[in-house]
């Protein structure tokens, strides 16, 4: 049975924890709004880009001269997994879920006898995967210092990935990130970026365009930019998901702390009552004995 003083200390410590989690939740809520705005702002670009690329790609996919970024290297032996996670923890299962998906994927590929290479973005995921698949790491991108993700960050990653592709380091690249559904649900997603896949919904009306310079030249120019665009979209989705996950995790923590305080308070009151009753009994029995 803890003493009254112990209980009091514990209540005080849980209360200050609750204050911290509450503050973190509110910070995450504010950041989430900003991250969502950023994701929203990038959507028109990404959508139009993919629509145009879809049209171009459906025209070029069949031809033998299609760029390698579109048609692939003709092999699927070496896979590059780009695993994007957060730089900070305390966001529930966010990092773990992405890492788990990537790990399952990697293990399945290894079991098939493929070569797996892993590029990590964000150090939390790196820590999680390191234990099992540390030998497969080929690089790491640190975004700790980045406050607001800009297109330049995505371009840097894309440049790195494209340089590896040009050097023949891998055949297929897949991005792992969490797609933002809403505040309570974020889905870990795998998205193949090389060779590029586009929704070829309305390829028919795309064929009506004039192209300047030639169709092939445009495709060759835009495909590398497409990789950067996909990475940028994934980074933004991830940022929004991270804040969403953190917000709900901290909301839970705040609620748990509240429950704990209630329980401890009840326990505290009970033992205080017991102490008072004890003292009364002592006084009364002392008086009776006289």
């Amino acid at each position: 049975m803890p003493s009254l003083k112990d209980l009091k200390n514990r209540i005080a410590s849980v209360k200050s924890t609750r204050k911290i989690t509450k503050a973190m939740q509110m910070v995450a809520a504010a950041k989430l709004r900003r991250a969502q705005d950023a994701a929203e702002a990038s959507r028109p670009y990404t959508e139009r880009f993919n629509a145009v690329m879809g049209g171009l790609a459906s025209g070029a996919a069949g031809s033998a001269s299609a760029p390698r970024l579109l048609s692939g290297t003709g092999s699927d032996q070496t896979h590059l997994l780009v695993v994007m996670t957060a730089e900070r923890g305390l966001c529930g299962g966010f990092n773990g879920n992405i890492a788990k998906l990537a790990r399952t994927h990697a293990n399945a590929l290894i079991a098939e006898g493929k070569t797996v290479k892993i590029l990590t973005v964000g150090k939390k995921g790196r820590d999680v995967i390191k234990r099992e698949l540390g030998d497969h790491f080929v690089g790491h991108v640190d975004l700790t210092a980045v406050k607001r993700i800009s297109y330049a960050n995505a371009q840097d990653i894309a440049k790195d990935v494209l340089a590896k592709f040009d050097a023949g380091d891998f055949d297929i690249a897949t991005l792992f990130f969490a797609r933002f559904e809403n505040v309570v649900s974020q889905h870990p997603t795998a998205l193949q970026v090389i060779p590029a896949k586009f929704d070829q919904a309305d390829g028919a009306d795309a064929a009506l365009y004039d192209y300047e310079p030639s169709e092939d030249a445009i495709l060759a120019d835009l495909l590398p930019r497409g990789v950067a665009t996909q990475i940028f979209a994934a980074l933004l989705e991830n940022a929004a998901s991270e804040q969403g996950a953190r917000m709900s995790a901290m909301d839970n923590a705040t609620r748990n702390a509240g429950e704990m305080i209630d329980q401890l308070t009840i326990e505290f009151n009970r033992s205080r009552q017991a102490v008072i009753t004890n003292e009364l009994i002592e006084i009364i029995s002392g008086a009776e004995a006289l």
Binding site: T46, R48, F49, V52, D210, E212, A217, R225
Partner: protein, 140 residues
């Protein structure tokens, strides 16, 4: 006269969405002006000035990289880098030039025996210099 719906978007934000009477685009193969009823065209961009004429006057933007999609009723410009001309300062311009020069250098190293990419990078720089001269900034 009929107007076209003009949209200018960069990956980070939507810069403009207005009804325009004409849009001058710095296409990779040369400048072109799009007005209502233009044949559907897709063109890549070179670094340059994009000029939009609409009922409230004319706006100018500095764009670099990306493409423009022109249809009879609208013009969408998707630029990797885009800023209103007023925000184009000497510092931003210097950064762009420095980046282009770095790209040229790496192209020279990687493609020693293939002139294609090196020429492309050189053209990028000369386009930027030309654009700077046009808006009164000097490259050094």
């Amino acid at each position: 006269m009929a107007n076209v719906q003009f949209d200018l978007v960069s990956p980070e934000r939507r810069l403009a969405s207005v009804e325009a009477s004409e849009v001058q685009i710095p296409g990779a193969d040369g400048d072109m002006t799009a007005m209502a009823g233009h044949a559907p065209t897709i063109t890549t961009l070179r670094p340059g000035l994009l000029r939009v004429v609409h009922s409230g006057g004319a706006d100018e933007y500095v764009v670099s990289g990306g493409f423009a999609e022109i249809t009879a009723a609208g013009v969408s410009v998707l630029a990797e880098q885009a800023l209103p001309r007023a925000e184009m300062t000497q510092e931003v311009y210097d950064a762009m030039i420095a980046e282009a020069k770095a790209a040229m250098k790496s192209a020279e190293e990687v493609f020693k025996n293939e002139p294609g990419p090196v020429d492309d990078a050189a053209k990028l720089i000369s386009d930027m210099v030309a654009m700077g001269g046009h808006i009164g900034l000097n490259a050094n």
